[in-house]
Symmetry: C2
Subunit: 219 residues, 2 copies
């Protein structure tokens, strides 16, 4: 697959893990933050090499042919709004964010009761972007290395309103990250489900000896 | 295992499915409803035979050495409150309810944002009962016949504040319903996770060809 320009919004563990994987695959990755001088982003660029750069959310969105949203849930809508409708128009925006509310400490609660979702809010904020929700149900390490859990025999989920964009994201999940099993949850309201799941993930994490786990749907 | 007297609160699909399975195992089951003359309960008793009876929530709780709460989420706290602190004191109360809000139609939203749960509300309503949350993450058919999904190779979850009661419920899940794999989510706050999961279950259901599915946690 040809090298692409990719924007990654968010400088946390998810953003830098996905960014580093994409750089390793040969893509040109710009990490976006609120500030063009974000220190974590600058450190990441120094560690990651010449295909890595950083800038504002706006600059990263303009840079990307495809854009990943890896911001914290409480700042996600503000981040894609700052990225800008014009910079995301017609582009696939892969939303990895989770609506976790840490205002009362750990474990977090959710921003929603299953009556809305970040995926939908983000799609409404940038209506001409092709938003596809995925990867939010596993930790950053598993997102880019699913084969390290049960030999890759487990599931990741996608949802979104644009069928072609979802099909392209399924290809990306397979080709870039080696995901073998993808379940399509339908339109973007499916995000109400896969985002709610993360409250369960937190409890499973507490019950396991590792955060590197996932679920396999069986019939 | 010896025959027991069991109370089942709720006359819907979950209550009657669990009640019928328990009768088939030789237990004496009283189905409880708000009214002592509940029609669905009367029909179930007629179909199920001499070990089946029905009555009020209060009567069913008094009858049971163990009590299952299979009421709808929006009525669950009222049901166990009606069942009565005195009738549930020191008894295992297996809570199968889900906090689904159907007031805006399908698919449902949740009563909570992961900041509380029915399991916790029920434990607070009847503080001297030994509440254990389980089975709420699968449909009624799978609850009592897990072997029909993937040969039984998948997980059910338990949580609750009393360790001895949880251990007993794990035995019950295995001995009565043939569950082979149980994950302990810790104290009753774990219900915030396994109840939130059901919003995800609804979306998985939409993506599968059947409601007879479950998840297997893999590492």
């Amino acid at each position: 697959m040809k090298a692409m320009k990719i924007g990654v919004l968010g400088t946390g563990v998810v953003g830098t893990t996905i960014g580093s994987k994409l750089v390793a695959l040969g893509h040109d990755v710009m990490l976006g933050a609120r500030s063009a001088t974000n220190e974590k982003a600058a450190v990441w660029v120094g560690e990651t090499g010449k295909r890595a750069s950083h800038g504002t959310f706006t600059a990263a969105a303009a840079h990307g042919e495809i854009v990943f949203n890896c911001t914290a849930g409480t700042g996600a809508v503000a981040a894609v709004t700052a990225a800008g409708v014009d910079n995301l128009r017609g582009k696939i925006l892969i939303d990895v964010s989770n609506p976790l509310d840490f205002s009362k400490g750990m474990p977090p609660s959710s921003m929603f009761r299953g009556d809305d979702s970040l995926g939908e809010q983000i799609q409404r904020a940038v209506p001409e972007a092709l938003v596809v929700k995925t990867l939010n149900t596993v930790n950053a390490h598993v997102m880019v290395a699913p084969g390290q859990v049960n030999g890759g025999d487990h599931h990741v989920f996608v949802c979104g309103d644009d069928g072609h964009a979802k099909a392209r994201v399924k290809e990306i999940l397979h080709a870039w990250f080696d995901w073998k099993h993808v379940i399509d949850l339908g339109d973007m309201t499916g995000a109400r489900g896969c985002e709610a799941y993360v409250l369960f993930w937190v409890r499973l994490w507490g019950a396991q000896s590792t955060a590197d786990f996932n679920i396999k749907v069986v019939k």
